[in-house]
């Protein structure tokens, strides 16, 4: 369960990126986060895994109160989450396999368990051959898939994905969406920021639209675009 109450986020440079956001997501939901570039999607997501602490307001995730929690509890929170970062954030000096393994290593899995889980997940994202490559030896889309693999490998209670298919071709995107839906089917909450209109329209789930830091739409089974908001300019695609 995930709950935000009157959350405000103002960056040190004065930019107010989120204004009075209130939101509840139940365990097992699948949520699309949509909105223009710079609307505040990534900011909202960074609040969820506590890269950012809100200027004001209340956030609760998996029974952690994110404003009250002690610094040393943060790793506990993050271990219950899987996060795909918009800029991947892979460790440059570790191979693909080691990057994914690291997320398991920190929670104390045995080497055998790690080996098996890593092989399995690399297979899922179609990178079994790249296990021993370093991130800078991969294409953009391959790096993104490694980031996805790392986020799902420890079977998190909540999967948070920021634009997980921006560098993927439609066919690979379909494969990744299959995986996310399968995970969601097993009870994992999925929150996914995306600009991909086709995904949102063809795999309908709850849609949250952010604009100028405010939630302007919250619709079960919604479409990517919303006539009222975007009527200034007809979206071409």
């Amino acid at each position: 369960m995930l709950k935000l109450l009157n959350v405000e986020m103002r960056y040190p440079n004065g930019v107010s990126a989120l204004k009075n956001v209130t939101l509840t997501v139940e365990q097992g939901e699948f949520v699309y986060l949509v909105g223009h570039s710079g609307a505040g999607k990534s900011t909202l997501i960074k609040l969820l895994y506590r890269e950012l602490v809100p200027t004001s307001g209340f956030i609760q995730i998996n029974n952690f109160d994110l404003r009250q929690m002690k610094e040393h509890q943060v790793p506990q929170l993050r271990r219950t989450l899987g996060v795909v970062f918009q800029d991947f954030k892979l460790l440059p000096k570790m191979t693909v396999g080691e990057n994914i393994g690291y997320a398991l290593q920190v929670i104390g899995k045995s080497d055998a368990e790690i080996k098996e889980a890593v092989e399995q997940v690399l297979n899922d994202v179609g990178l079994e051959k790249q296990a021993d490559h370093f991130p800078n030896e991969l294409s953009g889309g391959q790096q993104q898939r490694v980031a996805i693999a790392r986020a799902i490998v420890n079977r998190p209670k909540i999967l948070i994905a920021d634009e997980p298919t921006g560098n993927l071709d439609p066919q690979t995107t379909e494969g990744i969406m299959d995986i996310l839906q399968r995970i969601n089917g097993r009870g994992t909450t999925v929150i996914m920021a995306t600009h991909n209109q086709q995904i949102v329209d063809e795999l309908p789930h709850r849609v949250l639209e952010i604009s100028g830091g405010k939630i302007i739409r919250d619709e079960q089974g919604g479409q990517y675009t919303h006539e009222v908001d975007n009527n200034q300019k007809t979206p071409a695609r």
Binding site: H72, P75, L81, L91, K93, A103, V106, S110
Partner: protein, 295 residues
């Protein structure tokens, strides 16, 4: 900590050291050059300290024997002098012998005072174990029977002691300064390499690693950097010192002074510097990471 965790930290630290290539190499060579400087300087200071003691030990107590003391009385006196606390060696010089010294210093005109005209005294020269005790020995010797006077160069010796003391003080002061500088430089080098890896640390935190889980491999890597950085300069110093010892030793031989033997110097120096380098590397890493692991 579980054994598997320790093993992982060790493996991760070594792997990171290997993969950081040029950066690791630069850090190690920074440590190496610093240790080279510290090692050479400490070897120098240790030897200056030793030599200053050698010079001080050259100060002797001269015990002038009263005229007309019999041979038997002198023998007793010699035993008594030898029994004084802190005395290493007592040597005898007859007044005839003393006169020769005067003649050699002030010219042949003094030869006329040979034989019974000789106004000088027989002299016992005492060497102290510890130069600091010279004065005490002189005082005690003066009180013995048949002793006319016991002196040890007076003001001259006091001045020498003072000079040697200040040589040693400057040496110690300089060593301390140097050690502080070295600690700072090594830690600073490690700090810069860690500053350049803040992204890595950030990512580790984001995927749920605890602070200590992140810290350990960096701390170990710092320690390895210190260790690897210390090895080469210490080998150079060890070999170099053996040579210097041989060369300078020969020069000094005639003067009665001597350098510390390689055996006395090398092991304490190596052990100290390796341990210091590793500790600074480890602590430097730990401290440098604090900033990134706070929030």
């Amino acid at each position: 900590m579980k054994w598997i965790t320790i093993k992982r930290h060790l493996r991760d630290s070594l792997r990171s050291l290997k993969r950081n290539g040029w950066m690791a190499f630069a850090a190690i060579s920074g440590v190496a050059v610093t240790i080279l400087l510290v090692g050479i300087s400490l070897a120098l200071v240790f030897n200056v300290t030793k030599l200053s003691h050698d010079v001080e030990s050259d100060v002797r107590v001269h015990v002038l024997v009263e005229p007309k003391t019999t041979t038997k009385q002198k023998a007793k006196l010699e035993t008594e002098l030898n029994d004084l606390k802190g005395v290493t060696k007592v040597t005898y010089s007859s007044k005839a012998n003393e006169l020769k010294k005067v003649v050699s210093q002030y010219g042949d005109s003094f030869k006329m005072f040979g034989g019974d005209d000789n106004p000088l005294n027989d002299v016992y020269t005492i060497k102290a174990t510890d130069p600091e005790e010279t004065m005490a020995i002189a005082k005690k010797a003066a009180k013995l029977d048949h002793v006319a006077k016991a002196n040890y160069g007076g003001d001259e010796a006091k001045k020498l002691f003072r000079t040697m003391d200040s040589v040693r003080n400057w040496g110690v002061g300089f060593s301390v300064l140097l050690l502080i500088v070295a600690i700072f430089l090594i830690a600073n080098t490690i700090r810069i390499t860690i500053l350049s890896r803040r992204n890595e640390i950030e990512i580790m935190r984001l995927v749920g690693a605890t602070r200590w889980y992140i810290r350990w491999p960096f701390i170990l890597e710092g320690a390895w950097t210190g260790l690897l950085g210390a090895i080469v300069p210490l080998v150079i110093i060890d070999l170099g010192y053996a040579n210097v010892f041989r060369a300078v030793g020969r020069q000094l031989a005639s003067s009665g002074y001597s350098l510390m033997t390689p055996g006395q110097l090398i092991w304490p120096l190596n052990l100290t510097l390796v341990v210091v380098a590793m500790l600074i590397g480890a602590f430097g890493a730990a401290i440098s990471m604090r900033r990134f692991l706070k929030v």
